[in-house]
Symmetry: C3
Subunit: 153 residues, 3 copies
């Protein structure tokens, strides 16, 4: 598994790792577990994908935002550990979708993140446990995802 090589093959670039939007560590490592703080969808130019599913954004736009959260998360991990080869597998993610009260397709949105992880890390290592639900998100960003990875010790 070589995530950086795979990113290159897929023609994908990591956005700039965002500065923390509050008083927290983007990444905390305890033993063989790496906890990543909730990440938003940062574009290459540093701007954020905003809007609410069910009102402003269609499902495929939400999917793209969730995929961009995946790239942002990897940028954050790389910035704080120096290296994506430390990642062994995705353990768990909490996919938070900015949605109206009547929107009910959160899993299809968060699949944008999950399918990227599988494409980059493989079917076994890239597919973790998950919940995908609707919330009210800071800055009106479209998607926020926090995750736990297992790392090589």
């Amino acid at each position: 598994m070589d995530i950086e090589k795979k990113l290159k093959e897929m023609g994908l670039q990591l956005p700039p790792a965002p500065p923390p939007g509050g008083v927290y560590q983007p990444v905390v490592i305890i033993g063989n577990l790496l906890y990543v703080s909730g990440q938003g969808p940062v574009r290459s130019d540093g701007s954020l994908i905003k809007g609410r599913l069910g009102a402003d954004l269609a499902i495929d736009e939400g999917y793209d935002a969730a995929r961009q959260v995946g790239l942002t998360m990897l940028a954050t991990i790389k910035a704080h550990t120096g290296n994506l080869s430390t990642l062994k597998r995705l353990v768990k993610s909490l996919g938070m979708v900015n949605s109206t009260l009547d929107f009910h397709d959160h899993p299809r949105v968060i699949n944008g993140f999950s399918e990227l992880m599988v494409a980059l890390m493989g079917e076994q290592a890239g597919k973790g446990a998950r919940s995908a639900v609707g919330m009210i998100l800071p800055g009106n960003i479209a998607v926020e995802i926090e995750a736990i990875f297992e790392i090589h010790e």
Copy 2:
């Protein structure tokens, strides 16, 4: 602690383990921790309990849905590990209730899950840390719960 025997004594049957509703593993095991993806309330016939607390469902209906999530979670764990005797204790659950903005009795709803776990695993092993809050849920299901269990190694 014999969960399957206890289920039989209580006259309870596990529903069919649901297929994942997206790109994720229903269960991921890291060391002695078992992470279960967010589970919905699956009935014996495979259908889901739907509706919003504060609008469509009364508290006792939500309680029953949360209890059904507990049975669904055990079905999922059994399907992926072959055996419920691997479970040592409930560590933590996040109880997510589909609710209106003015509904505030989420803990009483999630107690349906928590009291089942205590009945099946005992006061010590079945009672974990917990949060019980309101969100917008996929497919308009009434309750979704994710959890971490400690397992026997």
Copy 3:
């Protein structure tokens, strides 16, 4: 790091540890990780800070509520472990803000909790991974936070 001494220096008092508001353990310890159930903002007299950000409460009032959640969490941990010196570092928190659909400053609210942890435990040990988002909270409390701490073994 001496949290109790620091509390005294800062002129802060822990509120009474609240009884569990449902069927759960306030604190569960597995190995070197301590999981704290979602805590609300308990005042010294045992009452709860209630209201919704974006409607009833201003950001600085939400900040104060989040800070009070921090004190409540420490009271809960002390009541269940006897001693705050067991805490080694904050690993992760999930900051849940009771907010209207149009409120988007959740991180500034949860900073009330996070800045207290940094003041009490130091920049390294007190700053964990975090998500800060909006939900519907039980009892209409202003803020609820769950967390994982690393403890000394």
